[in-house]
Amino acid sequence: MARCSCELPSGRFSVVIEFQGVNKWFGSLHVLNDITLSVQPREVVVVCGPSGSGKSTLIRCINGLEQIQKGDLVVDEKRVGDPATNMTLLRTEIGFVFQSFNLYPHKTALENITLAPIHVRKTPRAQAEKDGRELLAKVGLGDKFNAYPSQLSGGQQQRVAIARCLAMRPKIMLFDEPTSALDPEMISEVLDVMVAVAEEGMTMMVVTHEMGFARRVAQRVVFMDQGSIVESGAPEEFFSNPKTERSKAFLGKILRH
């Protein structure tokens, strides 16, 4: 399904995530160097780059898991880090999928999914459980509602983790290398779920090196190196015709294995 950002109405509401000259340091390490980037509603942006280039930090700033030190970051019209912004409330609009799943080990798959809707969104339990079962069916785990995370494979755990985020009906979904902890044969089952989420029109930022995924659903690939956005463009263009030495070297490396 091809989507085009040119269909979107222009104006300030057509941006969901906006980085303006954002900088962040870990001690003396400059992890985010003057990042300017905007993401529009229903857009899927893939972030790639070498290890340590700041990809995780970039998306973790969006829901305040990391704090920015300079510049402006506006998410869903709220300024991140502004004392006037209720971060807890903003986070309910942002799903975050971790590389290591981070499911709650003491809760079943269904309980993992219903926990935040019941306690944060105050959805009645019966309704939350009904929604939860539907979501589990949607990620292909309709029969696993009673399983604990330790009883699920990595791919299944990651699909539960995605369902757990979707249960909050977020406006934005962030993924931090969602398939890099998985055995190769489980990667596609997770990517398929992510493609389905993208095709329903979710706004997504995905840190991944899965080029197949980027080609299928992303409007844009952002290449980072040493805390800076070095290159950004349409997936086809970026993969077949990288413009900088650094992106060429990087693509050479990930293509080789």
Binding site: T88, Y104, A116, H119, S150
Partner: protein
């Protein structure tokens, strides 16, 4: 030696030992409940960002761990009256045990909470939970599991420590042995009997630890239909 060992005298003193045992058990139960309270409070202070809360908690824990329980007991026993606070021996004893064990309990609970992987906190933060929701729904239920066995270990230590209360004439188990030893000049009978009762208490708590470990070990695999 054994021909001189008077089982009859032990029999005569059995009611006294029985009372001592009962006192040891219930003062231990109350002291341990107190220790949990003190421990939870100290641990909560210790985990805060504010230095004003963290520093006193850390200092308290260090002082308690660095000084002998007997010194702490005497400090309360002789020190409180100087401040005009006159309390019965038993209360002073329970207070000393609670304040002492509380420091160890605080460290056990803290280790349990810190053993929960960072990712659990991040996942619950990212889902929009408040600090209290995170603690209640995600962190504490998992920490609970890992703290039960060491807490029971601390309970065993505390039951043995309660013997020191005999020195401020609390009529607990060791005090019963002392009475037999001094009234009838039979220290062997007195203290062997006392030791046997402590051994019994030890096995009760150890059994509880094994049972809870087995029960908790099953934890996540148990189906809850």
């Amino acid at each position: 030696m054994l021909e001189n060992f008077s089982f009859r005298t032990i029999g005569e003193y059995l009611p006294l030992f029985g009372q001592g045992l009962v006192t040891t058990v219930w003062l231990s139960v109350i002291s341990f409940a107190g220790a949990l309270l003190v421990g939870i409070l100290l641990c909560a202070m210790n985990l805060q960002r504010s230095r004003a809360l963290r520093v006193p908690a850390k200092a308290y824990i260090d002082v308690v761990r660095a000084t002998p329980l007997l010194v702490q007991l005497y400090f309360l026993y002789f020190g409180l009256p100087r401040l005009g606070i006159i309390l019965p021996e038993l209360v002073v004893g329970v207070l000393a045990l609670s304040l002492n064990s509380g420091a160890y309990v605080a460290e056990i609970i803290r280790a349990g909470i810190l053993s929960i992987p960072r990712g659990q906190v991040e996942a619950s933060v990212a889902s929009g939970m408040s600090y209290l929701q995170r603690m209640r729904l995600v962190i504490l239920p998992q920490a609970f599991k890992v703290t039960i066995p060491p807490l029971l270990g601390q309970a065993i230590v505390m039951v043995k420590d309660s013997a020191l209360l005999s020195l401020i004439s609390v009529a607990e188990l060791t005090r019963a042995g002392q009475l037999l030893a001094s009234d009838r000049f039979m220290p062997a009978e007195g203290f062997i009997t006392v030791a046997a009762f402590y051994l019994m208490l030890y096995y009760c708590l150890k059994g509880l630890a094994v049972l809870s470990g087995r029960w908790l070990g099953l934890g996540p695999a148990r189906s809850r239909a």
